[in-house]
């Protein structure tokens, strides 16, 4: 008998596996029982309708993929009318991912989305922010703190801050998010990347650049998850390149309390439930009975203190 449940700042999940924003939707209910997931996380929405980026919106690179979808959104109204009721069918908590062009707009959306049926709000502070030259809030501790303060005031729901790997200040940003009122950190979004078709000499994404996700991202996000778990006292949700139970266990040992699965669901729509099953099997095999025995159990010895704030490769 193994217990997979985890507690994310008061929110109980039956297991630590949930989808990553933008790589999940109602349609997956046609493939397996969504009730088997620890939580449901929606694609980031914005207040207004948005078209998204020009195609091609994805390309594959050696062993991973890039995307520049650009947050197409039907707007909050459609979301309240269709999406929230759909997920209400399930006991699994619903986590709504949101974003805004300015901190105030972001906070207003946060308030408006804090409705019945929503169990937590994931604030995507890692997308471009027009107030800061297109830099994401989560690139700097100061902008992270400011936007989180406004978002915190806007809702009483658990607030998860989704961080970006495009920064040299991960521990500082994590602490700023915590101080600004985040209840958990999602670590992390995609890393800014590019690919060029050498025949046409055009960028392989319609939007010039895009985000790297999948296996290649894992060692980077894992490092960030470790840094964030060390730097703060709030739960960390690992995200980046998870495709097997071993990946989940690596994140948990590093200090994450749960993980999100993105790209792996594109390669295997049933990936998340396979991972849950594999995780159970691993725990039985290794005589591990609860997630607490894994979370943060890294044998990092003496080094951890000095090195957690290191931001350059040694």
């Amino acid at each position: 008998m193994v217990d997979l449940s985890v507690d994310i700042g008061g929110l109980k999940l039956i297991n630590p596996i949930m989808p990553a924003s933008g790589t999940f939707s109602e349609e997956l209910a046609e493939v397996f029982d969504l009730e088997r997931l620890g939580a449901h996380v929606t694609k980031t929405i914005t207040r207004d309708w948005r078209n998204g980026n020009p195609t091609p919106r994805v390309c594959e690179i050696s062993g991973s993929m890039l995307n520049s979808i650009g947050i197409p959104s039907k707007g909050i109204q459609a979301f309240l009318e269709n999406t929230i009721p759909f997920y209400r069918q399930y006991a699994a908590p619903l986590v709504v991912s949101i974003s805004g062009n300015t901190a105030d707009e972001f906070a207003a959306l946060c308030a408006d989305i804090s409705v019945d049926g929503v169990d937590a709000i994931e604030v995507n502070i890692s997308c471009p922010n027009i107030e800061e030259d297109g830099k994401a809030y989560a690139i700097r501790p100061s902008t992270t703190y400011e936007v989180m303060r406004k978002l915190r005031k806007a809702t009483d729901l658990p607030l998860w801050a989704k961080l970006t790997p495009n920064t040299g200040e991960t521990p500082e940003v994590a602490r700023a998010a915590e101080e600004g009122g985040a209840d958990a950190l999602v670590v992390a979004n995609t890393i800014l990347s590019m690919a060029i078709d050498i025949d046409s000499r055009k960028p392989r994404l319609g939007n010039l650049m895009g985000g790297l996700s999948g296996p290649c991202l894992k060692p980077i996000s894992l490092r960030m998850a470790y840094q964030c778990a060390k730097a703060t006292n709030i739960p960390v949700i690992g995200c980046g390149g998870v495709s097997t139970a071993e990946d989940v266990i690596e994140y948990l040992i590093a200090g994450a309390s749960a993980v999100q699965v993105g790209t792996a669901s594109f390669l295997n729509p049933t990936a998340m439930i396979r991972i849950v099953d594999e995780l159970v099997a691993w725990m039985v095999r290794n005589d591990v009975s609860s997630m607490d025995e894994l979370i943060g159990s890294i044998n990092d010895g003496e080094q951890s203190e000095g090195l957690v704030f290191m931001e350059s490769a040694p």
Partner: protein, 281 residues
């Protein structure tokens, strides 16, 4: 707090419409020097769910030379619950299809599907006209079978560079279709000639609906003729896909809906769309 044993007991329903399965390769033979036909052994309940116009998302194998990362969408070329076979007809073009070409009988291939919206055949559509070129024939082939099953008349206009590249002609003939072959080599595949052929069919009352896929040129022509005579139509479109299910929004194309341009997901709202809504690109 929930406590699990290693169990699948959480699956509340067992009949999810979309499956992810490892299927056995029965054969994978070249059809001509560009195309191959792939035959997989598939369970009847999967085949029962297949419809003409739908597709599967294939996890092409990793080989020493080819390492496709994402899945590749392929139309259902044939589904035969009786013989337990799922057929694909594919053109070897890039990384993924080259890897697919290496599959040997006995190998396994992971497929996800059936996916997408199928072709529709309304009751009032007695004379179907199908216009296809190249690999589009793979997509339209099962429609011919369905038309045959429903006892509809079918005219298949098959276009190719050369007679040698005409695919599935015999397949259509065996299903009782009138087949009109047009080729670049014979100078019979140009728009003007095609327009005359189609107008003839319309005049003879043999065109209640048009079905096509792919080519811009044919789309533009069919839209024009369709509008002229108020003949409905459906088109199967292609776009690069990541998830194939509707989750990622990478596969969108612009369509005209109620006078507005909207982005629709080819994998979900399509791949079959209303002909008049489709925009040339």
């Amino acid at each position: 707090m929930t406590v699990f044993e290693q169990t699948d007991s959480f699956d509340r329903k067992s009949d999810y419409p979309i499956s992810e399965l490892d299927l056995l390769v029965k054969s994978n033979e070249p059809v001509n020097h560009e195309y191959r036909q792939l035959i997989l052994a598939a369970p009847a309940d999967l085949l029962d769910r297949c419809r003409a116009g739908q597709f599967f998302h294939l996890l092409c194998p990793q080989t020493a030379d080819h390492r496709p990362f994402l899945r590749r969408p392929m139309s259902i070329y044939g589904f035969y619950p009786q013989s337990g076979e799922l057929h694909f007809l594919f053109k070897v073009t890039g990384t993924g299809t080259r890897a697919l070409a290496t599959l040997q009988p006995g190998d396994r291939l992971s497929v996800a599907g059936p996916l997408g919206k199928p072709f529709e055949i309304e009751d009032s559509w007695q004379h179907l006209v199908l216009v296809a070129r190249g690999v589009g024939l793979a997509t339209l082939a099962p429609l011919a079978l369905e038309a045959h099953r429903l006892d509809r008349k079918l005219t298949a206009i098959c276009s190719a560079r050369h007679r040698d590249y005409l695919l599935s002609i015999d397949y259509f003939k065996d299903l009782g279709a009138d087949v009109i072959a047009i080729t670049d080599a014979e100078g019979t595949s140009d728009v003007d000639h095609l327009e005359r052929l189609l107008e003839d069919l319309v005049q003879q009352g043999k065109a209640d609906v048009f079905y096509t896929c792919g080519s811009n040129r044919i789309l533009t022509l069919l839209k024009k003729i369709g509008k002229r005579h108020s003949i409905p139509g459906q088109i199967a479109l292609e776009q690069q896909m990541a998830c194939g299910l509707g989750m990622c929004h990478c596969c969108v194309r612009p369509f005209e809906q109620n006078g507005q341009i909207v982005n629709l997901r080819v994998c979900r709202e399509g791949p079959v769309f209303d002909l008049q809504a489709a925009l040339a690109w």
